[in-house]
Symmetry: C2
Amino acid sequence: MGIRIFITDDHYMIIEGIRSLLQDEKNIEWLGHAMTADSCLAFLKKQQPDVLLLDVNLPDKSGIDLCKEIKTRYPKIQIIALSSFNQQSFIQKMLDNRASGYVLKNASKEEIINAIETVIEGDIFLSQEAALVMDQCDIPKTPIITRREKEVLLLIASGLTNLEIAEKLFISSATVDTHRKNLLAKFEAKNSASLVRLAYELNIV
Amino acid sequence: MGIRIFITDDHYMIIEGIRSLLQDEKNIEWLGHAMTADSCLAFLKKQQPDVLLLDVNLPDKSGIDLCKEIKTRYPKIQIIALSSFNQQSFIQKMLDNRASGYVLKNASKEEIINAIETVIEGDIFLSQEAALVMDQCDIPKTPIITRREKEVLLLIASGLTNLEIAEKLFISSATVDTHRKNLLAKFEAKNSASLVRLAYELNIV
DNA sequence: CAAACAATCCCCTAAAAACATGATTTTCAG
DNA sequence: CTGAAAATCATGTTTTTAGGGGATTGTTTG
């Protein structure tokens, strides 16, 4: 008598992938899958799994809301959130709605099995990356930027190119480029999009 | 007896530019310039202009704060904000601090003279672009985006490239590219940086 | 005064994004 | 069932960034 697993995700590839990963596991019993929130709820009326793998983004309803609903009706079901997003807000919301785990869709077989075994014990499982994100969110190290860098940052956020910023500030575009590079380094941002995001999340706007 | 003008800006080129623009105007009397907030205040103790052109970004102090200070001590001085930024928050703050005008540093001669003549009458002058920004801010048209587009948007904001997003969502990078383009079009954003900015300002995060 | 920092500028390469255009398949609501 | 909307994929060009150097001028400050 193994752990009964059910999965709800609108990506067939994901369902198949996980099913394949788990099919060799003796102590896991695959109950099936649903691809929408509605069909998931319909299934649960007839049969309840021990663990439900639940996509955060479903076509008909948010996985976040669905999680809350299911835990209210069937508190015994341990829910593991499945997501492509390693985003603090999502993880937090899922945990707030009583999910027991959060794994990314690029998780390894070991990670998924580990997650299942962890939540079945009543514990919380977060994938490494997700745990990292949750940690980092409490240490929002705000970089120290200069006056000029801030000016450039605001103009970058406005969508101006280096050349346009240069014309606006009456300096060379090479200088703007240097400021941009320094900003990326200070914020540890990979590109301008994440730079702007960090600027918003850390205050500077 | 012309209108007495004084300018405070840390860019010598700007000072010279405006001085040059105004030197032929018979009814304008050029009192001089300051390049820091401190030297500006020192000058005002001895002599008060009718109109003060004031940079929003000074090296030692914010032009926004300085504006408030000056208007408190010398209410008769009409202050025109000078800025490279056509940003709603800046314009609003300067007007809140009793500035009488806001002109961009790329303004034409006519615009500056127009501004000076307007504020000397006790009226408010906003450069065309600034006025436009202030108008638009009251009409924050939120584009309607699809579920998938929103997913892509969040990943863009996280700093992922098209390829990385594609791998995460198990789709082709060409598709991500299409979503990105559609997002840029819907938000009327020029690039991903401004897209992220708009996403933050309009809610979607 | 020397060191640190800020701001300025330049060159180079490779990666990524922006722009244009077109097309197929799925999904969904009327 | 059917048409509109959404999601998918492709190809090619041009512009912009990202990442790696290096360098000069001021200013500030211990």
